[in-house]
Each structure stands twice: as structure tokens, then as C-alpha cells.
């Protein structure tokens, strides 16, 4: 997993499924990175490589959204594959934040 940034956007790139077995590590890493990059206005979850999102993964995404929102920042998701979109649609993520599908539909 990694993070990268542009002028105003901080990108979170898990590069792995958002499932229970990975959750502690991902959460700790992202929260640390977010604390260290508080000055950026937009936080984007780059869903590249995410195929499975379980309930803990959903909680992570909602948790990130809430954390970012409380700091009056914007949260969105990019590069969402089909499998990610199924979960996103079920939980109606798009009513909370923007989700951009992966160009190839992956």
C-alpha cells in the first residue's frame, strides 16, 4: 500500500483487498499518513487493485469519509473496478461521495 499527492489531493492506494485480514495495517497506515498530510483539501481513495471489500472494508471507507468530512475536506474514490462497484452500489456510497469507475472497467 502507498500514498501519493498532487497540489491539493492526497491519494490513498491500498493495492489490496479491503478485507478483515488487512484492515489493521491499512487503517493504521492511512490514518498516520492523513495526520501527516492535513494541509491537503481532497482525499482520494484509489481503488486500483481492490477486488473484495468486506464489512470491515466498508467500515474503513465510511470511516475515511467521515474523518475527511469532519475536517471540511472532500473525499472521493477513483479507479473502481466492477467488483468494487457492486459493493459501492449496495451501500449507496455514491450518495455520500463521488466514485469514478476504472477506465477499462476493471
Amino acid at each position: 500500500m502507498k500514498t501519493y499527492k498532487t497540489d491539493s489531493t492526497f491519494f490513498l492506494l491500498p493495492e489490496t483487498d479491503l478485507v478483515a485480514s488487512q484492515m489493521e495495517e491499512i487503517r493504521d497506515y492511512f490514518m498516520k499518513e492523513l495526520r501527516e498530510n492535513e494541509n491537503l483539501d481532497i482525499v482520494t481513495l484509489d481503488a486500483t487493485g481492490i477486488e473484495i471489500v468486506d464489512s470491515l472494508g466498508v467500515n474503513l471507507i465510511i470511516g475515511l469519509y467521515r474523518h475527511v468530512s469532519t475536517e471540511s475536506k472532500k473525499f472521493n474514490v477513483i479507479n473502481a473496478g466492477d467488483k468494487f462497484m457492486k459493493v459501492a452500489n449496495f451501500f449507496r456510497f455514491s450518495t455520500l461521495f463521488d466514485i469514478q469507475k476504472a477506465p477499462s472497467g476493471e
Binding site: 478485507v19 473484495i52 468486506d54 464489512s55 467488483k83 459493493v87 456510497f93
Partner: protein, 648 residues
């Protein structure tokens, strides 16, 4: 030794012991007869006289204790030497209480044996039947029957008059009726009028057996004596088990009836109050009806049971239980020795022990061991309990079976309309006898599709049951009948073969009915293991249905697995989660079992619905429910069903 060669009856189910003992005695000049079991012994005793009976106390079916008790009930005083491997003080006492005169431990000591033979041969009181009564009504030593009222049941006018005379000469007040129907009518009118019934075994309408059965149930204070020209052994044993106070050979009626009634009346006087006993017996009967409690509140299609009791007290018990935490089922079939009030007490004690230790000791041998140790603590009550214990993993259709004295089960498989049978080993040492826990039988059985296992107590024979099933194939093959096969099979069994003990029949069906294929997996409660389990499930389903889009289905299953790890096993890494994947004609079923006690599905779903769309829902149920077609919770087992046509 006496000049007269003593006649010895050896009763032992072990042919080696029988032959060895027989050879020793023959060499010492004795006349020897042998019986393989208690039933055969009673048959021989009813038709011949012996100086001494050497009795093995532990035999299948009618054991040495019951056989000796019945010999005494027949009014016979023939010395009985208990020959047994049980050598504890309490075993010795128990033999004496059953009516034995001496105790000869196994292995045999020839010197001790001959000392006992000489002792009783010298005071040989072999009795064709009990000592002839004097012709005069009451001799100096004979008991007085004055004031006792006899109801005589005899159809033949000549015989009746003859017996009335005999009885009156003995001091009885006699009322007579021609048959059982009239006798029972008379008892109903004035139940307290009679002290004894003396009945011909064979009368029109209700016969002697019917009178005996009804009297012992309704008017247990009345002593019942049955006479006949000849008894077949089955009937003889049945009468004794039904509680006949004496059996009288008609050929020797005049000479034997006095002593037989005397013995029975004397015994009855030892029992403080017959009325109190009658009340107790009534209560026992009511309690007895509760000893067989079967099935969970939710009907289980895989188990069936039927029973037929012969006795008021004691007898067979059957219990089953679903263990929430393991998701498995336990089945216990038990038969307490004896058929008196004390044996009912032991039944209740047994069930009490079972209730308190079963959950913590689900493994069959472990359960037998702990019940045995508890029963042995009751030093003053020496009864034994033949027991079968099963731990049934319905998800895998797998059984662990241990027996302690009960017969082994009969295994039946249906294949193209044909039935094939396998008789499993049973036996082992009954509970409550020895402080040993290495003498039980144990086996593991998988019940494949279209198979079932029949369990039964020692009132039934495996071979006779097999024959009954063969003759009544529709009970297993006809869809409607096959749901509950035990009652018709038990009825058919009783039509074919006489009933001489309580009978209980259990059927355990394969839980793989309609399952095309099944696979199992288990893992420790760790998130990484959940990932592996999901991978395994995906591989299994892909093998079976390679083109199935299973993304959302797997999401649902994954949530159920997480639920098992987090809630069921409370993150305890050592606790296993067990999976069974069944490919049904209509879709896929996955059973997920954890060590938890389960949860109320309806309640949790309602709570989930109240949550906002972004929340996961209690136990991940929103996700599980969204993609599974059906969810069932049974204790710690969650079953998910996904409908699809698996035949494609």
C-alpha cells in the same frame, strides 16, 4: 458327595466356560445340563428339577440377576451359585439380594466349586416343583390361608370344582368365574374383595396373560398365580416379567399350589404396605412415560423413534439433544436392569446424571465413562444400565457410536431398490458394574446417501430386525412411510416375533439426502484463515460450476465466516469454524458452525433494518441477507442457501 449323583444346571452364555465347568463336574460324578442364557435356563427349570444351578450373572438379554429372581418367583428353592467375574463386595451382596445362595468368583477354583457342590448335594432339595403340600388343608408348619379370598378363573366345570375343593381345604375363601372377561368385570365392581387370583392360562376371551397384565396394572395389591398343563418358554418368561406371583404346573396343582402361594404371601408381607406400593407403582408408571423424550422443538427429519413397553417400571429410555455450541446432536439409548420401582429410580438418576454432564461430555466414550463413575458412587444401589451413546455430526452425516452392553446398530443402505445390511458390533460392559472405562465398544460410521442406522435395546435382535426390514421394504422405500419408519417396523417385528422385553427402535437417516456432492473444511478463528477459507470455497464452487459469477455470493459467505470468527468464537484463535458445502439439485448450501450459542435471526434482522444504509448491520447480516436466498440459524450453525440450477 452324596450317593445320588447331583444334577447341575450350568447357565452361561460363554460356551468355553460352559464346557469347562461341565467337564469338571462330570468328572466329579455330577449330571450336567447346560443353558446358553436366562431364557433357556427358565425353560429347563420349568420342565426338570436340578440339585444346584450355577449361574453366570452377566449375560445378554435376561441376565443372571433377573433369571435368579424369576426362579425364586416361581417358588423354587433350588440353590443358585452365582458364578461371575464381578468380585467386589457389593457385587456379592447384589447376587445374594437377587436370590443366589452362594458366590463363586471367576476364574473357577475347582476346590471351592466342589466344596459348594458337596454342601448342597448333601442337603439335596431338588424339587420337581416345590415340596408337595400335605393333603390336609393346613399342616402344623404350613401357613394359614384363612381369610384370604381367591378368585379362581377356570372354564372347565370339573376342573373348577376340583380346584375349589383344594383351595377351600387350604382355608381360602373361593369365588370362581369361567374366564378373564368376567374376572376383570368382577374386579372392577369390587376391586378390594380379592387377595389372590388363581387363573388357568388358557380361557376364552381374555386369557390368563391378559388378566395378569391388567391386574398388575390396575390392582397391584392382588397376587396372581397362573396354571397350565404346559408353558412354552416365551410365555413363561413373559408371565414372570409381567409380575406373576407364581406359576403352577397343572399336573401337580394340588401338591404345589400351597407352597407357591405361601412363598408369595410371605414375600408380600415383607413389603410393608401393599397399598402404599400400589400408589408408588402408579406414580412410577406415570414417571416412566416421561423417560422417553425425543426430538428437538424444531422437527428433525433425520431421526425417528418408536417404543413398546412391557413393564410398568424400569425398561428403556431414549433421549436426544442438539448441542448448540458444536452444532452436533447427541443420542442416548439406555436400558436399566430390572423392572421394579428401584429400577425406575435408577432411570431417573441416570437421566439426572445425563442432563448435567452431557453438554460438557459430548464424545460418546467420555460420556459413558463419566456416567459410569457417577453410578458407581451409589454403592447401596446395585443396578446396571446398558447404554448406547451417539455423537452425530449431521453436517457431515458422520456418527461416533459407543456401546456399553447394548446391541450394535443395524446399518441399511438402499441401492437401486435393493437393501443391503451390515450388523455392527455391540456389547461392552454395562454402566454401573465395574470401575473400568476400557470395556466399551467404539466405532465411527459415515452415513452415505440413502442409508440409515437402526438402534435398539436388547429386547430386539439384530437378525430379527434385519429380517423384519427385508419383509417391510416399503417402510424404507415409500416416500411417505420412509419419513417415520420405526412405528410400522416395530409393529411388524412384534407381529413376527414375540415381545419378551421392552423394545425401543431408533432410526438415524443420512443427512446427505439429495446432496449431489459435499465438501468440508475447517479453520481457526483468524482473519487470514477466513481469506484461505474463502479461497477454498471459491475453488470448490468453481470446480462444480465453472461459469458461475460468485462475487456477491462470496461476499455474503465471507460475512458469515467473519461473523463466526468475531461473534461465535469471540476471536478465540483456538476455536474452530467448520464449513460444509453441499451441492444440492436446487443450488448450494453452506453450513458454517462455530462454538457460539447462535443468535436470534429475526431480531437481528429487524435491528439491521433500523440502521442507515451505510451501516453494515448486526453481524454483517445486511450483506449476508442481500446475496443469500435463505439464511437459517440453528444454534452455532448458520446455513446459507443460494438457489441455482446446479444440473447445468
Amino acid at each position: 458327595m452324596n450317593n445320588k449323583s447331583p444334577s447341575i444346571l450350568i447357565v452361561d452364555d460363554n460356551p468355553f466356560n460352559r464346557e469347562m465347568l461341565g467337564d469338571i463336574l462330570k468328572n466329579k460324578g455330577c449330571t450336567v445340563e447346560k443353558a446358553n442364557n436366562g431364557k433357556e435356563a427358565l425353560e429347563k427349570i420349568s420342565s426338570a428339577s436340578y440339585s444346584i444351578i450355577i449361574m453366570d450373572m452377566l449375560m445378554p438379554g435376561l441376565d443372571g440377576f433377573e433369571t435368579t429372581q424369576q426362579i425364586r418367583k416361581m417358588g423354587l428353592k433350588t440353590p443358585v451359585i452365582a458364578h461371575t467375574s464381578m468380585s467386589m463386595k457389593k457385587d456379592r451382596r447384589r447376587c445374594m439380594e437377587a436370590g443366589c445362595n452362594e458366590f463363586l468368583p471367576k476364574p473357577i477354583n475347582t476346590k471351592d466349586l466342589m466344596t459348594l457342590i458337596n454342601k448342597y448335594a448333601q442337603s439335596d432339595n431338588s424339587e420337581p416343583q416345590p415340596e408337595p403340600t400335605q393333603k390336609q388343608p393346613v399342616s402344623h408348619d404350613a401357613p394359614s390361608f384363612n381369610g384370604l379370598h381367591v378368585l379362581l378363573i377356570e372354564e372347565d366345570q370339573g376342573v373348577r370344582q376340583q380346584y375349589i375343593t383344594v383351595l377351600q381345604e387350604m382355608g381360602f375363601k373361593v369365588t370362581f368365574v369361567p374366564n378373564g372377561n368376567e374376572a376383570l368385570n368382577r374386579l372392577e365392581e369390587v376391586p378390594k374383595q380379592f387377595d389372590l387370583i388363581v387363573s388357568n392360562m388358557f380361557t376364552s376371551g381374555i386369557d390368563g396373560l391378559g388378566v395378569l397384565n391388567t391386574t398388575k396394572r390396575e390392582y397391584p395389591q392382588i397376587l396372581v398365580f397362573i396354571y397350565a398343563a404346559k408353558f412354552d418358554p416365551e410365555t413363561l418368561q413373559l408371565m414372570l416379567q409381567l409380575g406373576a406371583d407364581g406359576i403352577i404346573p397343572q399336573s401337580d396343582f394340588e401338591n404345589s399350589i400351597g407352597n407357591i402361594i405361601h412363598v408369595a404371601v410371605s414375600q408380600s408381607k415383607h413389603k410393608h404396605s401393599r397399598l402404599s406400593q400400589a400408589n408408588t407403582a402408579f406414580q412410577v408408571r406415570k414417571s416412566q412415560a416421561r423417560l422417553t423424550q425425543f426430538g428437538c422443538s424444531k422437527p428433525c427429519p433425520f431421526i425417528d423413534m418408536a417404543f413398546s413397553t412391557l413393564h410398568d417400571a424400569g425398561g428403556d429410555m431414549a433421549q436426544c439433544r442438539h448441542f448448540n455450541r458444536s452444532g452436533m446432536c447427541g443420542v442416548v439409548l439406555a436400558d436399566v436392569s430390572g423392572h421394579d420401582i428401584l429400577s425406575s429410580y435408577i432411570s431417573a438418576v441416570f437421566l439426572g446424571i445425563l442432563s448435567s454432564v452431557w453438554n460438557a461430555n459430548q464424545k460418546p466414550k467420555s460420556l459413558l465413562k463419566i456416567i459410569n463413575s457417577e453410578l458407581l458412587k451409589m454403592e447401596e444401589v446395585n443396578y446396571h444400565v446398558c447404554t448406547t451413546v451417539i455423537l452425530w455430526d449431521q453436517k457431515r452425516s458422520h456418527l461416533e457410536i459407543a456401546t456399553a452392553g447394548n446391541p450394535g446398530p443395524v446399518f441399511v443402505v438402499q441401492n437401486d431398490g435393493q437393501l443391503s445390511f451390515d450388523l455392527f458390533d455391540g456389547g461392552g460392559i454395562c454402566l454401573g458394574l465395574l470401575d473400568r472405562d476400557d470395556m466399551y465398544t467404539y466405532q465411527q460410521v459415515d452415513l452415505p446417501q440413502n442409508s440409515q442406522l437402526f438402534l435398539f435395546s436388547d429386547g430386539m435382535s439384530p437378525k430379527k430386525l434385519q429380517s423384519t426390514i427385508k419383509q417391510n421394504k416399503p417402510c424404507l422405500q415409500d416416500e411417505a412411510k420412509a419419513r417415520k419408519p420405526c412405528r410400522p417396523l416395530l409393529d411388524a417385528y412384534m407381529d413376527n416375533w414375540s415381545q419378551d422385553d421392552d423394545m425401543i427402535l431408533l432410526s438415524l437417516k443420512s443427512t446427505l439426502e439429495g446432496v449431489a456432492e459435499s465438501a468440508q473444511y475447517s479453520f481457526q478463528s483468524d482473519y487470514k484463515e477466513v481469506d484461505k477459507a474463502c479461497k477454498w470455497i471459491t475453488q470448490q464452487i468453481s470446480k462444480y460450476m465453472p461459469n458461475l459469477d460468485m462475487d456477491m455470493m462470496m461476499l455474503s459467505i465471507r460475512e458469515a465466516l467473519l461473523n463466526a470468527v468475531e461473534h461465535g468464537n469471540n476471536y478465540n484463535v483456538d476455536a474452530l469454524v467448520e464449513l460444509t458445502l453441499n451441492f444440492l439439485p436446487t443450488g448450494i448450501q453452506i453450513n458454517i458452525s462455530d462454538q457460539g450459542s447462535g443468535f436470534n435471526l429475526k431480531e437481528k434482522l429487524l435491528e439491521s433494518q433500523k440502521e442507515s444504509g451505510f451501516q453494515i448491520g448486526k453481524r454483517g447480516l445486511k450483506i449476508i441477507q442481500a446475496f443469500a436466498d435463505k439464511i437459517e440459524i440453528n444454534g452455532g450453525t448458520t446455513s446459507l442457501f443460494f438457489n441455482m440450477d446446479t444440473s447445468k
